[in-house]
Point group: C2
Chain length 323, copies 2
């Protein structure tokens, strides 16, 4: 069934409009942030074959496309408000669109945000979502606030999404149930919005992990002008990942990508406040290292009291034009 | 030269940040609208081979990608503030990116708006821009405000962009200078931002012409619950278009697409205010018809005092999944 562009928006993507003054269907959507709040805005573009496999279930793809954007709001400590969707797809195919919209709108509902506008066109399968959140002026969590002496923390587990990818690539093997769990991490990441909100006024800096731990830590280091020490054995991981060979496990933990956990910093005297934020938001948080002066560069030790840093040659952040 | 994703953003798309609290480079951009203003948001997605020809100069493509989005703000009477860019492209090619960014940022500079964030990735060439503007609550121009008895107006000239496309397709021929002019209309549309602002409080409804006059008028008719009468001979056109055969001229005028002019309505007693808005914004405005009760449907007459409406079979709005 070939639906027209306007029918398509109408049929699949027209949820009830609440917060927006005017949803999709006019030249612009109108949004009224709470007076005095700053607007936080983020855009992520997903391309088939690069950011997702063509084998992914459309419902999961809809979920993930919004989740990766909400993860950026989480990293800023912003409260999600609304989003727009720009979608190019080869055919207006109900078998794809209905479950895609279902996954997308279910996550939107969970975070009480609205699809306020967008664009659809025929073309290669690409998904661009722009999310809007709000944050009190001066309270956004930034990449630039880390200071030497801060503890380095991460939410959840690292590396499962990458492990799932390696199973698809044939580099790793996992039994049915274990595979389902890591595949869930890859295809249905849960953005850490509640943790981000709870970390306002607690964390000194934050970023969400999309490019891999070392790659995203490099952004904090660059923006904050700091070095860092990481403890490999402290990095939180699933049993499935723990059971993998050393080299693969290390790669998934340090350079996995697609984790969508929060990496954040806080002064040591705020450690209890960090743990409280984790509890309040129902999110596991783990201390994984320390922020150092810039001159210290980056060092990864096998354990917290190790003496010889690991050789990091061959580990780099994910870069869409280099890999 | 294969640039990395982060270098690429840094090198080509990092303009000075003024209005935004925080530009690209953190998880979110932070934007502070003027307190009390509504935020107007629009997204347009351009795909190579569908929305632009691969022969277009990158500088013009950069201009157009932003122009079509600013045109949506213009149609709402919103003051442009900022925009984000999501770009997928096959290679990080400086020969494309430098002039593309130049065209994009020159138009941004002209409208004093900032690129506050975005995303780039390898993939097919697609360009998604989301623009942000502001408008006092209740003053946005909507598609839904037209009332029977209103005059129907349009800015600028219609059909030149479509005529240029027909030259590329080999359906029309134009001498060098005339071709340059219509090609300019296709590749470098000028969004009618100043006119949109001047029409606040004057126009009862507005839309920008991207899908063609009849297609976009249909949106106003549907949202406002009205009919309309158009006068073909009143439609403003260039000399180049006037010189074309009847059928082609009519098609370009009524269903051209890509005009990026404003189609708007106003009560007859505001005609002087409309003309004043046109003068104040340096934009030609032309009265082209009348809004009718819904029961009248749509009728196009060859001239203002004609008796027999034209047969419109074969004219429809541009729909990306139907054509």
């Amino acid at each position: 069934m070939a639906l027209g562009e306007f029918d398509l928006i109408e049929k699949y993507f027209r949820p009830p409009v609440r917060r927006a003054a005017l949803g999709g269907g006019d030249d612009c959507a109108l949004l009224m942030p709470t007076p005095g709040m700053q607007l936080a805005i983020s855009t992520d573009l997903l391309v088939e074959g690069r950011h997702f496999l063509s084998t992914v279930a459309p419902e999961r793809l809809g979920h993930k496309a919004l989740a990766v954007n909400l993860s950026d709001l989480a990293a800023c400590g912003a409260e999600p408000l609304a989003f727009t969707l720009a979608l190019s797809l080869p055919r207006a195919d109900a078998g794809f669109l209905a479950p895609f919209a279902e996954g997308l709108l279910a996550l939107a509902e969970q975070h009480e945000i609205e699809l306020i506008g967008g664009d659809t066109t025929a073309g290669p399968l690409t998904i661009t979502i722009t999310v809007f959140g709000q944050v009190p002026p001066g309270q956004a969590l930034l990449r630039s606030g880390a200071r030497a002496g801060d503890d380095l923390w991460v939410s959840g587990c690292l590396g499962d999404a990458r492990l799932a990818l390696e199973v698809f690539r044939g580099r790793a093997e996992l039994a049915g149930e274990a595979f389902s769990a890591v595949r869930e991490a890859m295809e249905r990441p849960q953005p850490r919005v509640a943790l981000g909100l709870a970390l306002r006024g607690v964390a000194s800096a934050a970023i969400d992990l999309s490019d891999g731990l070392l790659g995203d830590l490099a952004h904090i280091r660059q923006r904050s002008g700091v070095g860092a020490t990481l403890w490999l054995d402290a990095l939180p991981r699933s049993e499935a990942l723990e059971a993998q060979p050393d080299a693969l496990r290390r790669e998934c933990l340090l350079a996995g990508g697609d984790d969508y956990e929060l990496l954040f910093c806080a002064p040591p005297d705020r450690a209890d406040a960090v743990r409280a934020a984790g509890l309040a938001s129902g999110t596991p948080v783990t201390r994984i290292g320390r922020i150092e002066p810039a001159s210290a560069g980056l060092k990864v030790y096998a354990e917290a009291h190790g003496h010889e840093p690991l050789d990091l040659a061959g580990f780099a952040g994910f870069d869409h034009f280099k890999r």
